[in-house]
């Protein structure tokens, strides 16, 4: 008898489990589901959390204002997929969001290495994918459903070099020669290659580009070698640990170039500023978004203040990018008047925004459109400089902080 009860209980339990397991997301007509592919756990979890914050704020705003008007006030629901920062997990999560959660559009995936294969999954299922990730090739595969509004590696490299040249023109001493120290994974290699090209085009002699091993315990020889050619400019493309090591060892080996620039990566992370204190003063770096842009574009400042009030921290480069992607989808939904994938895709492809006060211009450009590859050809990056432990936005002039002045040469205040 007792066994019988147990058996019934087990069966009931299993049935219960099964129903819990399969929530069968019945597509409520008045709901638009946007999938977010991000690292919510693992070593890069804090980035994923920042992305989630930015999107939650944006979605709450849209819903509070009455949802998507052209869809009869449909509310937006964000569905998160956790990549753990791993490519294979990113791909399975993307597939889960598409096939089980039936999302209408996707945003992802922070790391280019994760976004590259995950966006291919979105393409296969023909669900629009808005990229955050700078790896050029993400939009160079002839895909129809993959878009990127912001700068890719080439644009970032170009902005950095053009900015350096423009800022250097008004300062002395000038930059005549350079070395590039880049880590030897995909990112460092491709970025340094492009930087070399843009430097040479600007008439700067590049002594050498060296791809050093990522996370090396010691880089003295590299610094000694650089010192031997007496470069005016040192460009570093490094992740955080290497950025810390290079900056310290440059100081130890008394390598003090006129300008010290970074392609992004570790040099623009808050941890770098926190750890490097004085040695960071005067480093120029490429980034895609900085809160200082609010000084030239007031609504961005207001949006950022609300974010600070809500979450205790400003937007980050990547969370700003996620926010922009979200606003592009909202804009396209209003025009498409449907959640059908094909029409939504066409609406995104037809995006054309030039108003700097449009919410999709959170990363401000001259225009926001997509070319045949899905890349926004008008996207630019920005050049910031670390001054007194803070970033100052210096370039391009259209969005530079009005009261910011370039510090030249590197470590000008402490040498």
């Amino acid at each position: 008898m007792r066994h019988g009860m147990l058996r019934i209980a087990t069966v009931l339990g299993l049935v219960g489990l099964a129903t819990m397991w399969n929530p069968a997301p019945v597509g409520a007509a008045d709901e638009v589901r946007i999938g977010v592919v991000s690292p919510m756990t693992g070593p890069t979890a804090k980035f994923g959390q920042a992305q989630k914050n930015a999107l939650t704020m944006a979605a709450d705003d849209v819903n509070a204002a009455g949802g998507i008007r052209s869809l009869g006030g449909a509310k937006i629901k964000l569905v998160f997929g956790d990549t753990r920062g791993e490519a294979d997990t990113g791909v399975t999560e993307t597939e889960r969001l598409i096939t089980r959660e039936k999302v209408h559009a996707l945003i992802g995936a922070f790391q280019s290495g994760v976004g590259f294969p995950s966006s291919a999954m979105a393409e296969r299922h023909q669900v629009p994918w808005l990229t955050f990730g700078t790896f050029d090739k993400i939009t160079e595969r002839g895909f129809k459903y993959v878009f990127r509004a912001h700068a890719n590696d080439t644009i970032k490299a170009r902005t950095l070099i053009e900015g350096l040249v423009a800022l250097g023109k008004r300062a002395s001493p000038p930059i005549g020669s350079a070395v590039i120290l880049a880590e030897n994974t995909e990112w460092g290699k491709s970025v340094s290659d492009k930087q070399r090209g843009f430097l040479e085009k600007a008439g700067v002699k590049v002594h050498f580009v060296e791809n050093y091993p990522y996370a090396a315990p010691d880089l003295t020889s590299l610094i000694v070698k650089a010192k031997g050619v007496k470069p005016d400019l040192v460009v570093a493309d490094s992740y955080l640990g290497d950025a810390l090591l290079i900056t310290r060892q440059m100081h130890e080996q008394e390598l003090r170039p006129v300008a010290y620039a970074a392609g992004g990566g570790g040099h623009v992370q808050p941890d770098f500023l926190k750890n490097m204190a004085k040695l960071s003063d005067g480093i120029l770096a490429a980034t895609m978004w900085d809160a200082a842009v609010g000084k030239a574009v007031p609504w961005i400042a207001k949006e950022n203040e609300r974010h600070v009030a809500k979450f205790g921290a400003p937007f980050t480069e990547d969370s700003a990018g996620y926010y922009q992607a979200f606003q592009i989808i909202v804009d396209a939904l209003e025009r498409a008047k449907t959640t059908s994938a094909k029409e939504l895709r066409d609406a995104i492809a037809a995006t054309s925004i030039t108003d700097v006060n449009h919410k999709a211009m959170f990363l401000p450009y001259k225009a926001l459109r997509f070319d045949d590859t899905g890349q926004n050809p008008f996207a630019t990056a920005m050049v910031v400089q670390i001054q007194g432990g803070k970033f100052r936005l210096l370039y391009p002039e259209s969005i530079a902080e009005p009261d910011a002045r370039v510090v030249w040469p590197y470590l000008a205040t402490t040498r």
Binding site: G42, P43, P213, A215, D218, T220, S221, V224, K225, N275
Partner: protein, 299 residues
């Protein structure tokens, strides 16, 4: 020429730190015949202990392995305890079941432990990078035009001193002799009345304690991160094979040699090529002289 001299000097100095870590690896291998994959993780643990002692207690990294004003919190004994405990709780039970002389499952166990500890560190300390800036952190001085980094020179000093103390311990104390005896032949040592499992605990603890010293040396000039042990562990493997498995002087000398090769090749050619050369030497040594430069051929 000055560039090369500078690269060799710097190579020698960082090589000393490699040597220190390789010594720790070699103590475990010399006694247990187990390559301890958790060595890098123990180094990471030591670095975090050193970091928190400095951050919260203001204890200078250089004294943290041996004395602090917060008396139970001294990294070397703490790490010895951790190593001893790991040995007793995880390694010994497995070792007791293994009949082979070079136990494969224990090797895998240490790898598993390394992964677990690293992920625990990620969970508790997050993936943030930390640095410690002490009075010596970026100090340098010049000898004949060569720039010598003070914290790295301290590393060389610590390696030499540690090697000396270890030598005295292994040669002139009963416990040291017992450790060597167990390493030479576990069964015979047991017949002589040596408690081999206790000796294993001592060896593992000792090698963990040495990571406390390596951590103290590294923290003022390097960064602290849950994954920090990996880059050093790989170097330590090469050094141990190069110098001779189980050979203490081999580990110390191998460390210096690897540092110099790395520095010189990185200057002449490229840092990435230095890694190729290093691992090519590693393979070549295994072919030509499997016992390593100073190792004794086993029959």
């Amino acid at each position: 020429m000055r560039g090369l001299a500078q690269a060799v000097t710097s190579g020698l100095l960082i090589g000393a730190v490699y040597g220190l870590i390789a010594l720790g690896l070699n103590i475990v291998f010399g006694t247990m015949r187990v390559v301890n994959f958790a060595q890098g993780t123990l180094l990471m643990a030591g670095m975090f202990m050193t970091y928190w002692l400095w951050e919260l207690g203001g204890v200078h990294p250089y004294i943290s392995p041996l004395v602090t004003d917060i008396s139970p919190l001294v990294t070397a004994p703490l790490l010895f305890g951790l190593g001893f405990a790991v040995q007793h709780l995880f390694v010994s039970p497995l070792l007791a079941r293994e009949r082979a002389r070079e136990p494969m499952s224990v090797l895998l166990l240490t790898l598993g432990l390394a992964l677990v500890l690293e992920n625990v560190a990620l969970l508790f300390f997050s993936a943030d990078f930390k640095t410690v800036t002490t009075d010596v952190s970026m100090q340098t001085f010049k000898i004949a035009g060569l720039i010598v980094s003070v914290p790295r020179l301290v590393g060389l000093g610590a390696m030499v001193a540690t090697s000396l103390v270890l030598y005295l311990f292994f040669m002139h104390t009963d416990l040291g002799r017992a450790v060597r005896a167990t390493g030479q032949d576990r069964e015979v040592a047991r017949l002589m009345g040596i408690n081999d499992f206790r000796i294993y605990g001592v060896a593992y603890g000792l090698s963990a304690a040495m990571m406390g010293i390596a951590a103290a040396v590294l923290v003022p000039f390097f960064y602290i991160h849950p994954g920090v042990g990996t880059s050093f562990l790989l170097k330590a493997f090469v050094i141990v094979v190069l110098g001779g498995l189980g050979s203490m002087p081999g580990a110390a000398l191998g460390g210096l040699l690897v540092g110099v090769i790395e520095g010189a090749v990185a200057l002449w050619v490229q840092a990435a090529v230095a890694q190729i050369v290093l691992f090519a030497v590693f393979v070549a040594i295994l072919f030509v002289r499997p016992a390593g430069l100073l190792g004794v051929e086993r029959r």
